[in-house]
Symmetry: C2
Subunit: 260 residues, 2 copies
């Protein structure tokens, strides 16, 4: 019988968040689990890492029967510490899973997502990696239907592997009256946030701001993650960390007069 | 005579860093300048934004004759506040420039770079945007040779524009005995950081860590940013914020048995 896969679990909502409890529960059914996750919320941290400051890492007993550490750093820090400290000279993970994020990471939100930065960090190391998000921001969001979806996708990736340099951004529709219609491979929708800054004044009369915003979807296609979620499909976007806009290279080479 | 371009300047080393002073100096020669930059170092912040916490924004007199604000947030926050608060209902920038970063942002470092997140944020808004970095980490790094290069590239972008959805990641070689050989359009090199965590103990006997690391370059090509810098060329990588790995979509559609 083949060895059980070693699964590294992280997230950006913090080690005590509801989503990671669901993720760990599913992963325990699949393999051996190691958790290294932030010791508090790290939402919106994008691909931040801790430079110029120190990091703390402490064992945690949050998950019964699972080796777990809480880290003072970002999700990307967590994956780096897992690989290069906790598992230094040890067997490396067969897969990195991150989430389940409490809220959507579709479209442009992938850039700001700490959940996805943990997965991308896995992909940089050459490990198949998946970020899972539930598209429901409500306090009472129901994660129960996500478990079966997370399990099917994780098993599929363990069986088939992933192209090198690719991590999956998986978004799961909110629980609706009917079950999800299925799973779709998608592209990142063309959409963005339009921010508003709500100005307030502290007790000393100095102003401060809350950033709020509206999500604006410019995309009319049916092959993108926004369409999938709106139509009750799970969206799976393969994401790369090579940011080169290859199609722009010949354009710039032709247009620019300052090259040599 | 045409109106002078409105130039939004930000960075990630903070509003008092040396690199942004050089950048503002050059931009004043080109157009009307507005600075919104972090009130302290934000290196390694990747594309982080401030969610779940408040932001401060205060006018700054750091730059003579230039309207400037210091912001408590990340580089991405700065660009968002510039556009949707400082310039709300006003003329929007013709270009966003970020830097000059004190250190390299070649290859995979683009993901962790606050400098580039400010530029990418500009590109998301549809504005031509450039992140400039000087590949010299030394305390005494000489930025003087960068000014001419920054000016030429900025003028070129103002003249020609940039493809939509693209921001430029410009890295400038350290000052050497001979002038730079030229400017090259490059792709992001295939390289990564291998971290080491140096463990220390605080006065209470509790452990903490410093993240250090070595940069490992796997790339043998001569068309990438690492090669350019090593060979004394300025590297210009067009970067995109659509992370979709398009080539992986048909692969996954063929391989996976759980789709419908």
């Amino acid at each position: 019988m083949s060895k059980k896969p070693l699964i590294l679990v992280s997230n950006d909502d913090g080690i005590t968040a509801r989503g990671i409890a669901h993720l760990v529960k599913v992963m325990k059914e699949i393999g051996e689990v190691l958790v290294v996750a932030p010791n508090g919320p790290q939402s919106g941290m994008g691909h931040a890492i801790t430079v110029g400051d120190t990091l703390r890492l402490n064992e945690s007993s949050v998950f019964e029967g699972v080796k777990a550490y809480e880290c003072s750093g970002t999700p990307a820090d967590c994956v780096k510490m897992a690989r290069h400290f906790v598992l230094k000279d040890a067997r490396q993970p067969d897969i990195v899973v991150s989430g389940i994020n409490h809220g959507s990471n579709t479209s442009i939100s992938v850039l700001y997502s700490g959940t996805m930065s943990a997965a991308i960090e896995g992909a940089i190391e050459g490990t198949p990696a998946i970020g899972f998000s539930l598209c429901d921001y409500s306090h009472k969001a129901d994660f129960s239907h996500a478990e079966e979806i997370v399990k099917r996708i994780t098993l599929q990736v363990l069986e088939k592997g992933l192209p090198r340099g690719v991590a999956l951004n998986v978004n799961i529709p909110p629980k609706r009256n009917e079950p999800v219609k299925g799973i779709r491979i998608c592209r990142q929708a063309n959409a963005k946030w339009v921010e508003e800054f709500v100005q307030r004044f502290d007790p000393n009369g100095r102003s401060y701001f809350w950033m709020t915003g509206n999500f604006v979807n410019f995309d009319k296609g049916e092959d993108n993650d926004e369409w999938a979620i709106a139509n009750n499909y799970v969206s799976v976007v393969p994401c790369q960390f090579d940011l080169t806009a290859y199609s722009a290279i010949p354009t710039l080479n032709e247009d620019w007069s300052i090259l040599n």
